[in-house]
Amino acid sequence: MKRERLEALLWERIDGVISDADRTELDAHLAEHHGARELRDEIDALAERLATFGEIEPPVELRSRIDRALDAAQPPKTVHRTIRPVSRLRIPWHTSATGTRNGPPTFRRTAGTLSSESSETTTNKPGRGPAKGVSMATNKKGIIGAFAAVAVIGVAAILYFSLQNPPTVDDHAAGAVGAADRYRAEQITDEDVQIEQVELQQFLQSDEFDRLVNDPETRKLLASEAMQQMMANEAMRDAFASFAVQQAVADPRVRVALANEGFQQAWANAAVQQAMSYAGFRQAYSYKGFQEAISQQAFQQALADEAFAAALGSEAFNEAWANAGFQQAMSDKAFQQAWADNAVQAAIGNEAFQAAMADAAFSEAMSNDAFVRSLGSVASRQALADKGFQQAMNNASFQAALADKGFAEALASDAFAAAFTNDSFQQALADRSFQAAMANQAFQHAMHDKAMLEALGNDAFAAAMANANFRAALADRSFQQALGDKAFAAALGDEAFAAALGNEALQAAMANRAFNDAVGNPSFRVVLANDSLANALNNQAMMQAWSNNAFQYAMSQASVRQALASGAMMEAIAQR
């Protein structure tokens, strides 16, 4: 019986799911093999220890703490949101002295009330600017659009666009809302639009609203052509109606960003508009990291990139925004700088990369400082654009490796970054054996070691990565254990040894069980770390010996390996 099957059956026995036939086979095997019984005892002991952990009763105060926190929390967006007709909202306001449409008006909210003293119709006279207390009672489309505008920057926007500056109005009809047909349709009813006033009322009565309407950036934003075009787009209006975006707009940095030319140009892009229709992207506006990110020039530059804009419209990105790791990463300077990098933009536009982004392990990697720091390296960013790396990102093993702190630290190292630029290494990244190796803890542990990292940066080692046998060896358990060993890692960092790794005979040997067993042995690894042996490995005869079955068999014997470790033998090897 193979060890893996034995182990599986032993656990099935503990879990109580072993079949009768397997039970019989297991019992027979245990009766015959001492090693199997040892393994059984080990597994039983582990199961017993795990069982003693038991479940801990949560402290009684936990529930009350959660309840208090939930009371203070922002309630989730309701699915069937009921919104009171905007027509009922009457906002007293004052125009600037001229009240004309030339330049944004100065809005001021009358304290404490949302009631208007005006009628339901809009009958401003041309040239006089909007009347006091103009109602929002217009056609349904206009109202919905108007409500969306309210969500962006409050009633200021709605008044400005609906009454002050409707794009369709002739220049001579300044300030005359009546001239725009779209605002004259039938009165909507409660059945037409289900509207709830609470959020809006709170918003309109908040200091935040006051700040918004008096903020120069808001005015700049309102006056921009891009904003007008944006408001003509239903998806954008709808997006800006979301509470997350409203909250985001309260942040001055976001308003500056929104008024930025690069950002506004991006709005014209169908992919960005598509992105705005996603709940995830809208929600992203409320995240501090996103707010910081969009205020960065790098992000705004990235938006101008087609691939990046297309990526924003992808489902994967939609999921990624909600991801805690991704949010955290967005606040990071290195990550923000990475946005502007062509290689990152190309990577983000790649489906494999996007699929990886939607994965939880990737999100964990994103929350890892070291991984994010690795994006600060030009070489790492170049690697992102590499197909091999992108394929690797889409691989569960690689993602699992990314979540490992040591591996992420390794990624941030110069040596690893250098390895990324190596074709052979990139090729290896796309290889399943190598990916499997990366998912292994021993391999990840090995990445903590400086010598191992140096080995990665070594051309000979990278070249060895291109060899299937070497990659297969990397995926081998013994070999992986060896990788975690300081002596072996030191050997890998040795140029002579790395050069030897590039030798086909040695690579062939690596595919051999005996070799890997030998490597898995601590005393043999001490031998490997010895300069004499490393040099000897470069000898052709020695190489060929490795591929010899008898030699490999000899190496699998503990006594031979111990003999090799002796000083006399080392001396002999050194003299060859």
């Binding site: 080990e42 038991g54 939930l70 309630p75 021993a442």
Partner: protein, 173 residues
């Protein structure tokens, strides 16, 4: 159903979710942070985050899988922010005196807790659900929304890694 009710504005529906999952999530958080206080913080934060972002939850997925992952992330984030892992192990001992908690004070318990925390989250979750919370393969499959076969293979790998880690650190189970 409860999620849908909550999204329709029924807060009591979410209270039911809290009642149902607080124990298991607290335990998961405790196994990650190794501290009662931190586990309470992580559980509380997870429920608040889930509540506030409930509209982003994909109803075709399991609610537990979603909130479990949020809890794990919150717990890991607390551990990360607190101090290096090595220091955590020394200081994060629970102050309670239940027999279970007392056990973790023993050397073997600490070894095992540390090894458990070193597992990747996918592996850690199956170990916690199976061995600590006592769920069956089928229940774990339902909770995590993954095939039973995947539960078995993850458990196998997780146990193997756990054992190897303990052996490598010189602690025979």
């Amino acid at each position: 159903m409860l999620v849908q009710a909550c999204l329709r504005g029924d807060r009591s529906a979410f209270d039911e979710l809290v009642e149902h999952y607080q124990g298991v999530l607290f335990n998961a958080a405790y196994r990650i942070t190794g501290s009662i206080d931190d586990a309470m913080d992580a559980t509380q934060s997870a429920f608040v985050a889930a509540y506030e972002k409930l509209h982003t939850f994909d109803p075709s997925r399991k609610f537990f899988s979603w909130i479990y992952r949020i809890t794990c992330n919150q717990a890991l984030s607390i551990v990360e922010k607190r101090r290096p892992l090595s220091a955590v192990d020394a200081d994060a001992r629970p102050t309670d005196s239940t027999p279970e908690v007392q056990y973790t004070h023993t050397e073997s318990g600490e070894f095992l807790e540390r090894a458990l925390r070193d597992l990747n989250p996918d592996y850690r979750v199956v170990i916690v659900l199976k061995h600590i919370l006592g769920f069956s393969y089928r229940e774990i499959s339902g909770l995590l929304d993954i095939p039973e076969k995947t539960v078995k293979s993850r458990l196998f790998s997780a146990r193997q890694q756990l054992r190897t880690t303990l052996l490598e650190r010189g602690f025979a189970p």
